[in-house]
């Protein structure tokens, strides 16, 4: 009897990849995440981030156009692209003057006078280390801030204000004057004399380390240093705030930092 059970045991955990592929193709992303935890063989199949299962899941969420766009160059696999999609701007958690474009990664701030408008990403972090890219694809205006916030930070206010970093629930770097903001003020960044200002189209990497509670920035693959320390153990969300009409800002979540 026990022999029969053992033989049976082996069967389903060691299904050949071509059959696992057909079975998994019927499942939702949530079910697939559960399958990855069933046994090592199933996980080994799903660890191939470019296989047909990830391609299928990716195509259910992302258009062919978005998949091929240069925006997603730094997330080469289907799984990484899908993960970036799940971490992109949250249409339900942004100022009413902002809409998220069909690609899901780019926000557009409508031309509204005397308003400051922000957007948060869909997923916040309270553990692990995370990196995401921010690309400002339109003029910065007088205040353009990149950083993080808790769900308690407001995302819209009157006037053209340094909103991200206004209170103790958000932390931001104003790209216009290279200045850090938290609770209203935090100082110059990066700590260089005559540090070059952000040019439209440049890639900023935001690095959040929830283990050592700090936030750092990188520009065009150059590490600029730690900007904030002593971050709280609350869920922290990628956030930006903008003031310029028709400006566009994209976010691409990259996963874990490569370095040690």
């Amino acid at each position: 009897m026990s022999l029969v059970v053992r033989e049976f045991n082996k069967c389903f955990s060691e299904l050949p990849d071509c059959l696992l592929e057909i079975i998994f193709s019927y499942l939702s992303l949530c079910d697939i995440a559960n399958c990855a935890r069933v046994c090592k063989n199933w996980n080994r199949y799903l660890a191939d981030e470019n296989n047909d299962i990830w391609r299928l899941q990716c195509l259910r969420k992302l258009s062919e156009k978005a998949l091929k766009s240069d925006l997603l160059l730094s997330v080469p696999t289907y799984k990484a692209k899908l993960r970036a999609f799940y971490h992109a701007w949250n249409p339900l958690d942004s100022s009413r003057h902002i809409y998220i474009k069909p690609n899901a990664f780019t926000l557009h701030r409508n031309p509204v006078a005397q308003s400051t408008d922000g957007a948060r990403a869909k997923i916040g972090f309270d553990s692990g280390r995370h990196v995401w890219e921010i690309m400002w694809e339109g003029p910065l205006g007088t205040v353009a801030i990149v950083g993080i916030s808790t769900k308690d930070a407001i995302l819209q206010c009157h006037g053209y204000a340094p909103l991200l970093g206004w209170d103790d629930q958000s932390w931001g770097w104003n790209l216009v004057d290279n200045y850090l903001l938290h609770n209203g003020d935090a100082g110059n960044f990066p700590l260089l004399t005559n540090a070059p200002k952000y040019q439209v189209g440049e890639k900023i990497k935001v690095i959040l380390d929830c283990e050592s509670h700090c936030l750092a920035f990188e520009k065009n693959n150059e590490f600029l240093g730690v900007a904030f320390t002593n971050l709280p153990s609350k869920k922290l969300y990628p956030t930006i705030t903008a003031v310029y009409g028709n400006t566009e800002v994209s976010i691409v979540y990259c996963g874990y930092p490569f370095d040690g």
């Binding site: 995440a33 990855a36 935890r37 046994c39």
Partner: protein
Amino acid sequence: MDIDRPSDPQVSVVSSDGTMFHTTLKSILLSGTIKDMIEHIGEGGVENMGAIPLQNVDSKTLEIVIKWIEHHKDNIQPTSEEIKDKTADFIDPWDENFLEMDLDKLYNLITAANYLNIPQLLWLSTRKIAMLIKNRTPQEIRSLFNIEDDWTPQEIEAVQKENQWCEEK
């Protein structure tokens, strides 16, 4: 119908454990593997060819497969592409009932459908497995399919962290 000259000649197949089964050409042609074999022989050879040995299918499973192909021999079989595109919401009640079998039989049926290349049967039987996986936790899936938990707590935690975002709505 002309009874003297059957348009659907008899064909015999032999299971891995030596049992011979008789079915018809029309039925057995649903198997891509056997179809290729027969095409190789040429149409005329069919009536003179001996029993086809199927070394990867045991008699219990072959009996189930034959039941399915005989029921479906007059249906138009969808192509693999059509099957892939199909969202698979509608299942023929006969098939639904046919698939009511224990999991080791179902496992053998899947591997046989794969070996014999019967796309629609493979599609139906794997779908059945997927429906059993749906909305179940990893532990529930393991106990249902009798799969050994081969993870250390550290390993499983790392996999869970890696895929945590998949559970977001």
